[in-house]
């Protein structure tokens, strides 16, 4: 099927009757995912959003429950967001990262109701990448510009219209609302041509990386590999697979709420013990833990690499510490083809 670009705003408006619609919106000189008020706000020719759409399912600040303790007893009121959502225009790498987050919030012992409820109520409409950026390296971490993992619908841009690939039932009943017409053969050809032309220039070779990480924990490479890192959280807060969070109470005496905020393993406070001991005292241990978590520990536990190659950590790092160069140094070879 195909849908013309002109019809997109009206399609989004029709969706807004029974969905909360999120789409990329221009803000200053970058795009970010926001709940849109009108279909025309959506911007679809963008590289990738500054902050990943994971923030829709796992917001930076989220209230877990409100509580009030008075003579009559303790009143707890959990606040789980049950609204139906559509994320329109999500890139394949971000959709894949959501599949990785499912392993975290649904581990072998516990289920996180906040994330999982939203996850069930969200339809992901993907937008293929015709022009991957030079920081992208999704093909190196078994992803791709038109990868359909975890998407309900994939749109392929062929000029003034999109070829619509419906992938799941959720996608099927969503697309009913749009007035699509059938895709002609030329449309289909144009789509496969777009898919073929999209080439991802950034590459990094991660075969054998996990085995190397298995036994290079005490290697002195870690002493200098993160020397220039400032220890801020720009990379973790712009990473679609980062899931660490902090829990704090915000209340006046016994009336308030318990809130969950994004947290970063790059901060010393993250692992500081009450006794003052810190198992990861300096930037070296923290950076090593970040790389180990994504390319070894996560693989050990979930048999998947916790990186989708979106390149946001490369774009947002104030000192341009490039994860592809880090991985290449660990692999021991200078064979990093960085454009």
């Amino acid at each position: 099927m195909i849908i013309t670009k002109k019809d997109i705003p009206s399609f989004l408006d029709s969706l807004r009757n029974n969905y909360q619609v999120f789409a990329p919106v221009k803000q200053d000189n970058y795009t970010t995912f926001k709940a849109i008020n009108s279909g025309s706000d959506a911007v679809l020719d963008y590289g990738n959003s500054k902050i990943p759409p994971k923030g829709i399912l796992f917001p930076q600040t989220e209230e877990l429950f409100r509580y009030k303790v008075d003579e009559k007893g303790t009143h707890l009121e959990e606040t789980i967001d049950k609204e139906q959502k559509v994320v329109f225009g999500i890139r394949p790498c971000d959709a894949k990262s959501i599949a990785l987050l499912d392993n975290v919030f649904n581990n072998n012992k516990y289920k996180d109701p906040y994330y999982l409820t939203r996850r069930e109520n969200t339809v992901l409409v993907g937008l293929g990448c015709n022009e991957p950026q030079n920081t992208c390296f999704c093909t190196s971490v078994d992803g791709g510009p038109f990868d359909t993992t975890n998407l309900d619908i994939l749109l392929v841009d062929i000029g003034d219209k999109f070829v619509v690939e419906v992938l799941t039932d959720k996608g099927k009943d969503l697309i009913k609302a749009a007035n699509c017409s059938d895709a002609s053969d030329s449309d289909k050809e144009a789509a496969s041509k777009a898919k073929a032309d999209a080439n991802v220039t950034g590459k990094v070779n991660i075969d054998g990386l996990k085995e190397k990480l298995d036994n290079n924990f005490y290697d002195e490479i870690w002493d200098y590999i993160s020397e220039k890192c400032l220890g801020c959280a720009a990379c973790t807060y712009s990473c679609p697979t980062c899931h660490c969070f902090d829990i704090v109470d915000e209340a006046e005496d016994c009336d308030g709420c318990r809130v969950r905020n994004w947290d970063s393993c790059m901060f010393p406070l993250f692992t500081l013990h009450g006794s003052g001991h810190n198992p990861r005292p300096s930037g070296k241990e923290r950076f090593r833990n970040r790389v180990m978590h994504k390319f070894k520990y996560f693989v050990d536990v979930n048999n998947a690499t916790a990186c989708v190659g979106c390149g946001r950590c490369i774009q947002n790092c104030p000192v341009n510490l490039d994860i592809r160069e880090v991985l290449a140094d660990i692999q021991g070879s200078e064979a990093r083809s960085v454009s």
Partner: protein, 61 residues
């Protein structure tokens, strides 16, 4: 410098007041506090740097 910065950022004039008062100047201290309280009362309630919606945290969306 602190007063300049706070007023620059949007705190109403007159809400931030400084004065040197020695421990022995009891009378002047009382008078001063009276003046400042009066001035702040006229300014009315301080609705903060931005209009703060209800709710204790980000839970107002």
């Amino acid at each position: 410098m602190l007063k300049n910065l706070l007023e620059y950022m949007g705190v109403d004039e007159g809400r931030v007041n400084f004065s040197w008062v020695s421990a022995s100047e009891g009378g002047r201290f009382a008078e001063l506090i009276g003046e400042v309280t009066e001035k702040v009362k006229q300014l009315g309630p301080n609705e903060g740097l931005i209009a703060k919606e209800s709710g204790c945290c980000g839970c107002k969306e």
